[in-house]
């Protein structure tokens, strides 16, 4: 930097993108992660029936992304003008690209829910005016392979765009890194897996220790390891970087947000599932209590990660 002359004040209020954006980032991650995992499993296991996991994941992906939109629009200072973003596009802006992706992704998740829940819908909604739309089901069935592929691709795009969205913010060394989109995809997988497993088991009677749930349980650990590796890489890239990067590395050790990292991300997100599943014996590891607590802890861990990245990221600026 040129130190002959510089200013050190700004016109923003520190953290301009606060917790609503953090919650949105979590919900988008859950939505994309749940679809990626369940559709990949369906493909590799050559499943043809509607498994409890697929039911849970399709429902989760649709509901979480819709709630995400509520938080996203709610964070605008002019929420009633959100439609302006749908008619004006700037293809240099990650946000515009993300909006386009969401405009395709949200209907896709909705259609997927309709396809997966065809039986339930025909059973429960036959007496409602919606029954007039039942003639669409054969068409949806024909389109299903295309819908699944597109939903899978856009699930990845949505997870990744949330990372790119904030990695272009050059002022903040913690955010302006190439690792962020990858970290958001991987942590989205982790939260999406955990959340859809919980729903599959609680509402759709999936056996928590057999079939898809068992497969997910084995995938969970490599995904967590990858998440740890990416966080470690992020930290190392900061401590070996410029003077601003080194200063930003302090986010992991000083101030309130470092507590969010160590208690939330490491303690709850990594610690609780690891302890429950590996350290307290087989009996505890196979209990329903562990299944639900460990899944909840994973989701909370990813929420902490999103909030930590967002808040600590905007606190340390170059």
């Amino acid at each position: 930097m040129n130190e002959a002359i510089e200013f050190t004040v700004g016109f923003s209020h520190g953290v301009e993108w606060g917790w609503p954006i953090g919650v949105y980032l979590l919900l988008a991650g859950i939505s994309g992660g749940a679809l990626i995992v369940s559709l990949a499993l369906r493909y590799y296991q050559r499943q043809s029936v509607e498994t409890p996991l697929l039911k849970a994941a399709s429902l989760v992906s649709f509901v979480t992304i819709v709630f995400g939109m509520v938080f996203l629009v709610g964070d605008l200072e002019k929420p009633l003008y959100f439609w302006k973003i749908l008619i004006n596009y700037n293809f240099k802006s990650v946000m515009s690209i993300g909006v386009l992706a969401l405009c395709l992704y949200i209907p896709l998740t909705f259609v997927l829910v309709a396809i997966v829940f065809e039986g339930w819908i025909k059973e429960h909604l036959a007496t409602t005016p919606l029954a007039k739309l039942f003639f669409l089901f054969p068409l949806l069935k024909a389109l299903r392979p295309a819908v699944e592929v597109l939903a899978f691709v856009f699930a990845i795009v949505v997870c990744a765009y949330t990372g790119f969205l904030i990695s272009v913010l050059v002022r903040f060394p913690l955010l302006n890194t190439a690792i962020l989109p990858a970290l958001f995809i991987v942590s989205g997988l982790s939260a999406g897996t955990a959340f859809s497993s919980l729903i599959a088991s609680f509402f759709f009677q999936a056996d928590a220790h057999a079939g898809d749930m068992k497969t997910l349980h084995t995938i969970e650990w490599p995904v967590m390891a990858l998440e740890m590796l990416l966080l470690f890489m992020l930290f190392v890239s900061l401590i070996v970087g410029t003077s601003f990067d080194k200063q930003t590395a302090g986010a992991f050790f000083q101030g309130g947000y470092s507590a969010l990292f160590w208690f939330g991300v490491v303690g709850i997100g990594f610690g609780v599932p690891l302890v429950l599943n590996f350290l307290l014996g087989k009996k505890v590891a196979h209990s329903a209590f562990t299944f639900y607590l460990s899944g909840t802890a994973s989701v909370l861990g990813v929420l902490s990660l999103r909030l930590f990245i967002l808040y600590a990221g905007q606190t340390f600026s170059a």
Partner: protein
Amino acid sequence: MEQDEKRRNFLKYLGASSVVVGTIGQGVLAEEQAQTSNEGKKPHYGMIFDQNKCVGCTECEVACHKINAVPQGQARLYVQNKTDPATPMEKRYVRVSCQQCEDAPCVNVCPTKACHRDEKTGIVTMNADDCIACKYCIVACPYDVRFINHETKAAENCNFCFNTNFAKKQDPACVQACKYKALVFGDLNDPDSYINQILHVKDAVRMKPTFGTKPSLRYIPVVKVGV
């Protein structure tokens, strides 16, 4: 021999003609350049802040608030006191405002193109009606000089008084208000402009140039003299 003569003549004519054609060409080129700088070439507005002249009276701030109707407690322009506490008699003030980057991140990230570069003048300004106040431009700005106007609920920056004084072909309010001529506004693409004359004779720097956004504001810092 005869061939040699021919060759010499040829070279002679070639030399003579090149001088003639060259000068004509030069003349045409100069004319073209003059034309483009006045009409065809787009202006590139910039500003100089001379730290040697600023006394920190903040009359520029007051004028900016008034002309641009900036709400109380908010600012498009702020004069920061950067005086070293070890040498309290050597005052150092710095202008804090939009740096009017040539490659502006705020314009790049704005999803609705509300934050845009004016086609004709190249000035980075705001269409408040299209702004949905997503604050993306605020977090994207390397200089942290943007804010949401409490009254219009739209993001805002120093746009050289684009909608007020500039529209009336006047200098920005801060430049008019400065009694010490610490601020100079002008077209950097016009070789004869006063701002360019100053830049030719004084050392000026850009703020945080490593961000690579090519700011149009230039700062002339106080330089220590002697040993």
